[in-house]
Symmetry: C2
Amino acid sequence: MSQSLRRGLALLTELADGPRNLDQLAEAVGVHKSTVMRLLRSLEADRFVKRSDMYRYRLGSALFELANRALDGIDVRDTARSHLLELGESTGHTVHLAVREDDEVVYVDKVDSTHAVRMYSRIGARAPLHCTAVGKILLSGLDDSVRRDVAAALDYPALTDNTITDPERFLTELERASRAGYAVDRGEHEDFVHCIAAGVRDSRGEIVAAVSLSAPKVLFDFDELLGSSGELSRACDRVSVELGWQPPDH
Amino acid sequence: MSQSLRRGLALLTELADGPRNLDQLAEAVGVHKSTVMRLLRSLEADRFVKRSDMYRYRLGSALFELANRALDGIDVRDTARSHLLELGESTGHTVHLAVREDDEVVYVDKVDSTHAVRMYSRIGARAPLHCTAVGKILLSGLDDSVRRDVAAALDYPALTDNTITDPERFLTELERASRAGYAVDRGEHEDFVHCIAAGVRDSRGEIVAAVSLSAPKVLFDFDELLGSSGELSRACDRVSVELGWQPPDH
DNA sequence: ATCTCCAATTGCGCCTAATGCAACAAATAT
DNA sequence: ATATTTGTTGCATTAGGCGCAATTGGAGAT
């Protein structure tokens, strides 16, 4: 397609794991050392890459700037921010904001738990749809037919013993989430942590993002976490309203 | 140098300002429409770019992932994080963590003020050395001769009426910062805000990062801000110690 | 001080991959 | 229905990118 560009991007991806020297990069990307160097020079000129020391390269600051400028552009994130902080403070749990991208979820914001236990996740990270609370709630908002299509197209790798691996059961789960207004993940993604998630709606009423609360099993049993579902929903509603959502009156 | 790579990077940079269509991008980067499209395909394949709708492209999630993974790699940032939060909470001011990159500072972390007033800055943003508290403290840690060299190589644009525009006066200012252990910015960068900054040292005793407190003039006069300098310094020292710094005993 | 080793860097010649053009297709506005 | 705008594809040309091999330069050992 566009050889040198793609190779350059591959270099960036490789460098995300930490500083590398020429040989390592050449090995990883599968091109000649000298070619790697010339690509790096271009990347360096635009500050996408930086020399770490004489013999090593690392990611440059242009990347941070870009990413943060772009994240600022995501208005869900902007309006949600303060509500997430509040939610984190009042519940004490780890809060995530996620959106769907194709057949995965992408975490776009995060508030760390006040408890010392940290779980693995970072802004920009991806996770499957079928084993996360955010994934379920994001899918639950789709029309029945598209929902079936997406569910049928997914893989269902069993990441833990609790992972749902059956499309039919998954659809039932989505149905339930849709009715309840929140979705759950009982150790289906990571063994030792469970989550609940609710959806954020835009002015058209579409679910455009999901907010989740996560807690390690050792500290809270599932029902304790569920106890925060009211707060979670209210927080999501507040964000939705700020995005122009009209709560249905009944 | 590496044409298609650099053009691809230019596209990313352009897209940071928001979604664009083909013509806009072609115009901005100065290449033919069809070329832009082919480059975008490569970027899209690696998720650096995403189609926003039928007619527009935006930055993709690979970028966020990279940027955040890279930021995680900056160990100063990691170890400083909790101390910054604490400092933000206890002082109520906006806290920044910055490192030097060539002749600029780059903000690598930030804790927002509890006050409603927000100032313009974001993680990944850059600022000049000569008119920021962080810039001054970062330079103050250099050897006298290199310090002179760097100072001589700088431009001194006057961003406000208070900006120091004279290299000699700037060196004096650095001298003072070096002795005091903290640097100040009295509306030299942005008219309506002042800052104080202190340095973070690594195991070799070098200043590798700077922490600053910023406050809008309308809410705090300069002496009030200075009142937090003790806390600021102590926070920096704690970070330094975690990085392996040995406090000099005197 | 000299040698050795290792990794980066450069010159060169080959050749493919990238480019601009122009025709075409699709979607939207008039 | 027609005009207009924007995206997409085929094609011929060539410069930009590539691998190779030789060179440079620095760090450490002798």
